[in-house]
């Protein structure tokens, strides 16, 4: 089964942030970058599924030229090749623009003879958190879509992508956590699946993986001028509230003071 994973280069944020000069983005000076955590799990699921079906994994990103680093990071852990859709400033793209551009690239690759049975995304990107690119992409491709998926099982799938990726190129079982327990889906391919972290542990790159990543084959496209355009006016930072902590004490001696607080709230079982 041939799998495409859509990954996004995002700043790695640990603490508080400052805004850039335009006020429409965060100041990325000094911040590292990574793909979003849901996408790391999507890449891992793709590698496992491709291995089980003798298929391939391609990673795609729409981002600045530097986003090739995230494509290489995916190749280092086992993806086969990458597609960079270059956009100097991806923040001007609306989620619907991103979905549309990715859809166009997928159709173009199909014409070039590269088809995908399964397209994976994350549930939401760590920076914009729009929760919709995967779903919009599925509608654009006219594929069914699942979200909030944690594991995949391609057992029983024939694993072969038909030319043009038409329906009937396999079936996949997907599991995710719903409000009442683990939900199990069974889906005809091609399809889009949006992944939620937690079902698999992303692997670390091996030395040979890193070597391979340096020479990774990356097909490049230029992203067109966005059609819709981002609805963003500006970013704002939350107020930093002054600490109003009451220190109950140090070490085990402070335990009775905490039990007093818990009794006051009324949460200790009689």
């Amino acid at each position: 089964m041939n799998i495409l994973v859509c990954i996004k280069r995002v700043p790695d944020i640990a603490g508080s942030v400052t805004l850039d000069a335009t006020g429409t983005g965060i100041d990325e000076t000094g911040l590292g970058h990574a793909m979003s955590s849901h996408e790391e799990c999507a890449v891992e699921l793709a590698i496992q599924t491709a291995a089980a079906t003798s298929g391939t994994v391609t990673v795609l990103t729409l981002g600045p030229a530097e986003a090739v680093e995230q494509l290489r990071a995916a190749v280092a852990v086992g993806a086969n090749d990458g597609i960079l859709v270059e956009a100097a400033d991806p923040s001007v793209f609306a989620p619907e623009d991103i979905a549309q551009v990715i859809g166009d690239v997928i159709r173009d690759r199909a014409e070039a003879g590269q088809t995908f049975d399964l397209v994976l995304t994350g549930d939401d990107a760590a920076d914009t958190g729009d929760f919709q690119v995967g779903i919009r992409l599925a509608y654009d491709l006219e594929y069914p879509v699942l979200t909030n998926i944690q594991t995949l099982n391609a057992g029983g799938a024939d694993g072969g992508g038909g030319p043009g990726g038409e329906r009937g190129s396999g079936r996949i079982e997907a599991r995710g956590i719903g409000p009442a327990g683990t939900e199990i889906f069974s889906l005809d391919l091609p399809a889009v699946v949006a992944v939620h972290e937690g079902g698999v542990d992303p692997r670390y790159p091996s030395i040979t993986g890193r070597m391979k990543a340096k020479k990774a084959q990356v097909v490049e496209y230029d992203a067109p001028v966005p059609g819709t355009g981002s609805p963003r006016i500006r970013l704002e930072l939350p107020e930093v509230k002054a600490s109003s902590v009451t220190i109950l004490g140090e070490g085990p001696e402070a335990a009775p003071a905490l039990v007093d607080v818990l009794e006051e709230i009324g949460v200790i079982r009689p």
Partner: protein, 332 residues
Amino acid sequence: MTVVFVETDPAGEVTLTSAEAITFARSQLLPDGGAATSREVSGPPSGSTEGVVIGPLSDAAVDALGRLGVGVIHHLEHPELAEYSAAAWAQAIVDVTPESGTLLASGTPRGMELMAHAAVRTGARMAANVIAVDEEGLLRQVHGGTAFERLRLDGDLQVLTIAGHACTPKETTPTIPEIIAYDLTVAEADLATRVQRTEVEAADDASGLTSARAVVGAGRGVGSENGFAEVLELVDHLGGALGVSRVVTGLGWRPHAEQVGQTGSRISPDVYIACGISGAIQHMAGIEGAKTLVAINTDAESTMVQRADYAIIGDLHEVVAAVNEEIVRRRG
């Protein structure tokens, strides 16, 4: 008009986050379509708030919706929708969505998924995790809550999800909602992604965590997979639930269902006791709804201690063990 997708729990009650979303719809400056509105931000709504319920509709839910100010409940109970299928459910919502105004749901996984489908089906734009609406437009959480995005969605209809705990549910003058039962012809293609079956295992049930009045949080400070004895005993004394940081699930010490934060559960207990958790923004995103925050940490400068209401500085194993002993001692 504003339409809210209402989620109910297995007992048929309106979920807390849906009650929040309805309160949000009533109290924020949402365009209600057509006529220009010059409503005060906190003023009474000039449009009406309607709810959509898919599946069984209990008397308790009707009553709760009436108290929350929902005038009309669109109710659909359809055999083909008994099992969840995002595409089919979204179409059911779209069928009662007005051409102009606002469609919204709470920012739960279901809410996010259904609103995205509905946005595509209605040709609308969608904003996730909105926390406020005013004259300038919408404000929503981005970068895991580290920053807010101010944005404006054009088009007659806007589709939103409301961030958990963006507002507290408030009741209003009770009304008796009009219940409009409706039907739907379900497209076969929309059932392709239907849930085949649901497996209920204790390990992936996060519902105890999201409804617990007391949650004991455990982070990297616990030290190892075998370091949870004291915190679990405290959970037991409080009749509460265990919540953990992503480091803990990432290391495989505890299942993901127990994770609290941006990519885990968002909780709103009366008290959250964070043991050995530093307070990364992505973790804090999950505990904004906690009424009282207690930190037990060796580092007095950590964000968790600084943001807490109460803190004990010290080794969590020693402190929590002493707390357990004290609780047992007072029980006599």
